[in-house]
Symmetry: C2
Subunit: 237 residues, 2 copies
Amino acid sequence: MSKSATIQKLTTIYDIHPKHHVAVDCSIFGYEQGELKLLLYPRSFEPAKGNWSLMGGFVKIDESMEEAARRVLLQTTGLHDLFLEQAAAFSQPDRDPGARVISMTFVALIRIDKHDKELVRESGAQWWPVTKLPKLIFDHQSMIENALSLLQQKASINLIGRELLPDRFTLMQLKNLYEAIFQRSFDPGNFRKKILSLEMLERLNEKNTTESKKGAFYYQFKTVDFGIRSERIIKFP
Amino acid sequence: MSKSATIQKLTTIYDIHPKHHVAVDCSIFGYEQGELKLLLYPRSFEPAKGNWSLMGGFVKIDESMEEAARRVLLQTTGLHDLFLEQAAAFSQPDRDPGARVISMTFVALIRIDKHDKELVRESGAQWWPVTKLPKLIFDHQSMIENALSLLQQKASINLIGRELLPDRFTLMQLKNLYEAIFQRSFDPGNFRKKILSLEMLERLNEKNTTESKKGAFYYQFKTVDFGIRSERIIKFP
DNA sequence: CCAAAAGTGTTGCTTGTACACCCATGT
DNA sequence: ACATGGGTGTACAAGCAACACTTTTGG
């Protein structure tokens, strides 16, 4: 002990513990043409180069995981502000055959109409409907399953759509989004009544006539979001 | 294998990325004398040595975070099987003044009547009622808040108690547990009806007479848990 | 006129909540 | 006998789900 007095100063208790590569992987959801989609990338390095994967990146020394995820998302979609939430950590020692990498997953919701399509195209990324996903690397399949159930949970207590739909949308488009998320159908009348009872949307004086002869009113989210309304939207499970 | 080939093997893309200390911190909940309690430890090393903290430890090279958490819990409570669930990651670069440490938090539920009290005593740990917690190191206060709301969420859709109560308990004891978790009171009659309607408990032919004159029947969880019953227990929020 | 989607109304069932009331028993 | 917690019943309100019905308009 005496001999190591000076060493003890330099060598803190932290140093005797191993360090790990830490990455973030993002499940990027978007909604387009009535389908819930996920943005996937062809992996750019070995192992498993070229295979489909979630977009990810390593966490730098001076950034939090959230910051890392936002950095990755900005780089790949060009979007600054988007919905982002921690999902789960994946830490099996052998989950990545290339090295021991601990990965934190995030769920991101983006407006497909707003993102930088050029950036996405360059990187070779593609939007995949969640119902027809390709084979994915490592444990990314599990990550997506986890992200999807988190999204369902979120959508069941918070009215989502602001993060996924265009500024103006019809109630049927919102219903379609919910149907895509929950993979089930909702009664049109009951859904409409439930949503309107939340008083979070306001009707515009314009109609969308592309999807029906009669035309459906556009709605938009109210700007003032008085407090975090966390009423239950749909019974789930 | 040629020399260049070997080098290529050694220097992968992984190597250009930094590594981080990764720790787990556990919010260990127990229930005793009508109170929900949390097991806290005096920190054993600098910085902030001696201050109260969650029990934690560093993740080793060949173990997952869950394994690390179980190892830590076994070391500190002597319990092998307990309820354990990932909570959230805390990764602000400066969250630990001693070094950059990324921490994953876990929620553990333990049966106070079953844990190794001697082990706990030795380490200087103490059970603190969640309503009267001491000041904690770093961001452990936030970790606990997060853990508590996760516990509430879990308790609102899954009947918990198996993990916290003794083998046999009265419905009023279960009600008290729920009241401790949600910090509110429940109507005795309605609570009892709701719980019994789940058909997850079976009544024993014995009564607890210590808490009332009439005596209350003991109940226990049914052994066969047909599928994961995830019915809503209480309306929350 | 008719098909098709938008939107409204009605009804019955389930669930939640408040609260009254009986039961058993130790003091 | 009565206070105390255990346990049951009732009555009303809210929420949900199924579905009938009206409105609008392009073909």
